[in-house]
Amino acid sequence: MIATIITLIARRLVAAIPILLIVSALLFCVLRALPVDPAAMSLPPNATIAEIDAKRHEMGLDRPLPEQYAIWLRGALHGEFGQSIQFHRQAGSLVATTLPATIQLALAAMVIAAILGLGGGLILFRVRGTILEPAADLFSIVLLSIPEFLWGLILLFVFGVALRALPFTGEVAPGLPVPHITGFLLLDSLLIGRFDVFLSACRHLVLPAVALGLAFSPTIMRVLRSSLFDVYHEDYIQQARLRGLSERRILVGHALKNAALPTLTLTGVQFGILFSGTLLVEVIYSYPGMGNLMVDAVRNADLPLIQTIGLTYCVVVLLINTAVDSLYVVLNPKLRLR
């Protein structure tokens, strides 16, 4: 079985390569079509035309587009993504320092989305056929229609500004040290034994993570409810009832186990979307992750950095989808035979 899974993952990864190539080429073309000149931008304003031309030649900007792409691709395969224009640092290392913060936020949000989705889905299922059903239904529609951008702002307003219950700027209170060991602040603060930093980081993570989690829980809720509906039409549920099992045991022991599969697949797909949703939440809460770096790069037309971050988002989303596909096969015996 392990061999099957490995073959499957390998096949998915190979299938992702052409997509990545096309995406990176597309990204390259869009960014080269811009009316900005990276050579002129990386020189001081009093540079002469000749100096700019020399710089253009040095950066390879005077060559044909396919050749430029080939040069960039060769560099990318060696981990060289070019130099950021505004920070004068390697774009790859800038991404590497901000990516852990974004992953930490995405994971925390995913856990919250899963808990809310599971709880909400069970509640939606339990109220079926009662007078509460239309209300719960409408409620889930309203929840479904609020994107993470609005949740971020609403939570910021209610808990940050009106109630002043939680901090809403940055990843840790100002004045506290920010250790850099693994890049994951929650882990690092424990590694250096600073419990106060850990606590502050947790408090700063609550609002962004909940905002993101709330935006993605309704889809999980609705899929869990409809898969539970489907499962309850199966014969084995009737049989369990005839055997005299309590409704609770039917739900926990039989129905939930079978309804979990479609829910889990969807949760995985959602995780891919959720990951790119971190960008907005990071901007709203000034959370120092990859999303804020991206917006910074976009505002300053920092092409190498935009390109690197854009590609990183695509790669992470593709990797998540590959992992979800494989997990699906592991959990679904019917697919393993093929």
């Binding site: 009316p35 609020i146 907005l280 901007v283 976009v298």
Partner: protein, 285 residues
């Protein structure tokens, strides 16, 4: 059984949503009459004044002023114009491209279908927010640029969903009959396939409008939206985010505006989906 349109207009969801949308659209169309001030007029002597019911308010600014002394109410009303323009034209554009490609893809099948399908795959492997940000770097700020960016990102939403619907419709006997009667392919698509997929198209447009409103707000919030000369809810939020303790209402009001608009479009989409789709309407779910 009443027609689908009449059925839709009796659904409370659709009616409530239409009422809300009419109000917002009214603000958008008549913003010149409704707004008490010029939305760009700065009054640096009275910046960040609170709404009229709070202490220290200036009665000529009903909902207070922002950090440049501009009237918040007027900016909210003109912001509705920006949001509605983007919602209308962006979803229309995405619909036209997505629907045409979906019908070609699903009807003809084969190599065309494969190419369009792979195009959608590549497009969708790009997270939409990242994609639209990158496009805005390329296009520059401005109302038409925002619309274009949304169209270029979101046509896939229509294409993907509609293609499978077209596939189902095309298998019907009446489509084959139309071909036997001597209809050309294009006549068949226009007269036989499109009417059957239209309910889904309308529903998708309504949902896309909600998405467009949010995307416009996001781009304006980041500073890559319609541009500084055009009032937009996203800009108002970005401005208020900096002075959140001095003037919390400035943050709350545009959030509420976006929330109500998005909810209205989604409610409309949900109501239409339930009433226009014959299969859903019969089961009553």
């Amino acid at each position: 059984m009443p027609g689908p349109l009449a059925r839709s207009l009796r659904s409370p969801r659709v009616l409530i949503a239409l009422g809300m949308i009419l109000c917002i659209a009214g603000c958008a169309i008549f913003s010149g009459f409704l707004a008490p001030h010029d939305p760009d007029e700065q009054n640096l002597l009275s910046i960040l004044t609170p709404p009229a019911w709070a202490t220290g308010a200036d009665p000529s600014y009903l909902l207070g002023t922002d950090s440049l002394g501009r009237d918040v109410l007027s900016r909210l009303i003109y912001g509705a114009r920006t949001a509605m323009l983007v919602a209308f034209f962006a979803s229309l554009g995405a619909m036209v491209i997505g629907t045409i490609l979906a019908h070609i893809s699903g009807y003809f099948g084969g190599a065309v279908d494969w190419i369009i399908g792979r195009m959608v795959d590549v497009w969708m492997s790009f997270p939409p927010v990242i994609f639209s940000l990158i496009l805005m770097v390329g296009l520059g700020v401005g109302l038409s640029k925002v619309i274009l960016a949304i169209v270029l990102v979101d046509w896939t939403r229509f294409c993907r969903v509609l293609r499978s619907e077209v596939l189902i419709v095309t298998r019907n006997d009446y489509v084959a009959a139309a071909r036997l009667l001597g209809f050309t392919h294009w006549q068949t698509i226009l007269r036989e396939v499109l009417p059957a997929t239209l309910p889904l198209v309308i529903t998708l447009v309504s949902l896309e409008m909600a998405i467009a409103v949010v995307v416009e707000a996001i781009l304006s919030f980041v500073g890559l939206g319609v541009g500084a000369d055009q009032p937009a809810w996203g800009q108002m939020i970005a401005d208020a985010r900096q002075y959140v303790y001095q003037s919390p209402s400035n943050l709350l009001l545009p959030i509420m505006a976006i929330f109500l608009t998005v909810t209205a479009f989604n409610l409309l989409g949900d109501g239409l989906r339930r009433t226009l789709d014959a299969r859903l309407a019969e089961t009553g779910r």
